[in-house]
């Protein structure tokens, strides 16, 4: 049951992603991207990372996607034309070189995964043997808060400053040039 749902989510993510890259219409792609991100959040939950999944939805769906839609609308004067262009061709003709490259990468990665199989690294096997693995019953949020404020305080602060700087920079870049 659990596996079936995982597969469903995985299929949703991969199918939506494929549609995102193959559709000619950018607007549609953006909405399909939204679905992909949701699917990803679902997959995070399967990995027992409920806080990450929530954050994913919050940040991506609430922030990144909106930003993208804004950017798309600002940059594409032909939005309406694009929206109407439901296109005789549902799928874009793939660029064969990049397709080949991607498939090649996929093949290599798949090969690596299959070869690797379940030969876990030593720290994983050690943790499994000692029972130090996250269980679905664990309170992740509590643990994360403690870790952020203790062990990972410095990276947390650095990333906060970084985020601030990035946002300010983005705002600065996006503003209109002074006429003078």
């Amino acid at each position: 049951m659990e596996l079936a749902i995982f597969y469903a989510f995985a299929a949703l993510v991969i199918g939506s992603a494929l549609l995102v890259v193959s559709l000619k219409n950018t607007a549609r792609s953006l909405f399909l991207f939204f679905i992909v991100l949701f699917g990803m959040a679902g997959l995070f939950i399967f990995a027992l990372a409920d806080f990450v999944a929530i954050t994913q939805i919050m940040v991506y769906v609430g922030g990144v996607l909106i930003l993208m839609i804004f950017a798309f609308m600002l940059s594409n004067k032909e939005l309406l034309a694009d929206l109407q262009n439901t296109s005789s061709k549902f799928l874009s003709i793939p660029n064969w070189q990049s397709l080949l490259l991607s498939i090649g990468f996929l093949a290599v990665m798949s090969y690596g995964i299959i070869e690797w199989h379940d030969n876990f690294p030593q720290w994983i096997t050690e943790n499994i043997r000692q029972g130090n693995i996250i269980k679905s019953s664990d309170n992740n949020i509590n643990q994360l808060g403690i870790k952020f404020m203790t062990q990972y305080l410095l990276p947390f602060e650095v990333i906060s400053i970084f985020l601030l700087a990035a946002l300010i920079g983005a705002a600065h870049l996006s503003r209109k040039e002074d006429p003078k």
Binding site: V20, F44, Q56, S110, N132, N140, L173
Partner: protein
């Protein structure tokens, strides 16, 4: 309990799709989407591996960091795209060839 291999495979698929988007798409926004795909693939891997590290929670914490970085990257990237659009009146990277020799 879902095995690690499943996650890795989904991640690999997503990575490859992102890669394709980056290289093949003729739209800067789509390229940005491709980058997001790749980052998401990475986050999925972090989360999947982080399951086996209860003491440090490093997987989930770095996944959160990555999400934040991705958000920042998107913000800056979109700002850049807007500027490029203003300058070149297009967001098709095919037409922006200033780096050409």
């Amino acid at each position: 309990m879902i095995s690690l291999t499943h996650f890795l495979f989904v991640s690999a698929c997503l990575f490859c799709i992102g890669l394709y988007a980056i290289i093949a798409k003729r739209n800067s926004i789509m390229i940005l989407i491709g980058i997001e795909f790749i980052i998401n693939a990475a986050i999925l891997n972090l989360v999947a591996f982080g399951r086996y590290d209860k003491i440090n929670y490093s997987g989930q914490i770095f996944a959160l960091f990555a999400i934040v970085l991705a958000a920042a990257a998107v913000a800056v990237g979109l700002a850049i795209i807007l500027n490029v659009y203003r300058k070149y009146k297009t967001i098709n990277p095919e037409n922006i060839t200033d780096l050409r020799d």
